[in-house]
Symmetry: C2
Amino acid sequence: MKYSQATDYALHAMLYLVASAPDKPVGVQQLAEKLGVSPTYLSKLMTKLVKAGLIVSTPGANGGYRLRKAQDEISFLHVIQAIEGTASLLECSLDHGDECLIQQVVLDAERQMEQLLASKKLVDVARRLPATD
Amino acid sequence: MKYSQATDYALHAMLYLVASAPDKPVGVQQLAEKLGVSPTYLSKLMTKLVKAGLIVSTPGANGGYRLRKAQDEISFLHVIQAIEGTASLLECSLDHGDECLIQQVVLDAERQMEQLLASKKLVDVARRLPATD
DNA sequence: GCTATTATAGATACATAAAGTCCTTAATGG
DNA sequence: CCATTAAGGACTTTATGTATCTATAATAGC
C-alpha cells in the first residue's frame, strides 16, 4: 500500500506555496518546473486542492494559485486527504452481521496516524528549509 | 489509498486459524468457504503468510495450515506487512540533496500507526467473537 | 507402492486505477 | 481585443490487483 505519486507532488507544491509570498499567485508553469512534472498533469492536482478549499486559483494574466487559509492552518492531513480521499484503509468484504472487529482495529490505527498528520503543519517543514525550495 | 482486498482476506483467515484448534490443520477449501472466496486465489495468499513465517503448511491428506507461533504473538501488523510489504507510504520523487523533510513527517505518522497495529494481537479480537466464525 | 488429498507454482486473462497527454473552453488583466 | 492562465473532457498507456486454470510435488492411509 502506498500513497499515489500525485500526493507527493501535491505536498511539495503546497510546501512551495507556503514558502512563497502570500499575495502573489504562483502559476502552474512555475510550479511544474520546480517539481519536474508536466504542467497539464499538475494542473489537475491543483484543481483538486482548489476544490478541497486549500488554495484559490485566479485565471488570466498574472494568475495562478495562492493559499486560501493562513499558513499555520494547513496540515499534512489536509493535503493528503484532498488527493487520496477519506475512505477507510480496510473495507471488510465479509457479511458478518454487525461491524467487523478487524476493521475496527485498523480504523483505530488509521485515526492514530491521522492525528499526527493533522498536527503537523506544512509551515513547520517550510521553516526548516534552507531557502525557497 | 487502501489496503488490498487480499489483506482483508488474510486477516480474516488468520483470525480463523487463531480461533481454531492449534493442532489440527485447516485446509484452504474450508477457509475459502468461510470467507466466500475462491480456493485457488486464497491459496496464493496463504502461501505468502507461510513465507512470512506466520503459519506452516502441510501438504497431503489431512493437510492444511496451522499457526507457527503462539496465538498471542501474532499481531495485525505481522499479517498486514506479509501481504502489503513494508515499503514506505511516500517516496519522494524529487531529487533535493538530502532526505526529504516531507517524507520524514509521513514516515513518523506511519510508525505511529504501525506501533498500534503491532500492539494489537489477533487473539484479542478472537476472544470477543461469539463463536468460531 | 498406489491412490486420494492437499499445498505450490506458473501462465494467463480481466478489470480497475494511476499516470500522463492533448485539445477545447472559460475567465482575467492590460 | 488579445495574451495569459486555469478548468475540464477525452483519450492512451502502464501497472497492479483479482482471479482462474493447469501442472507439479508432497503427504497420509491403505
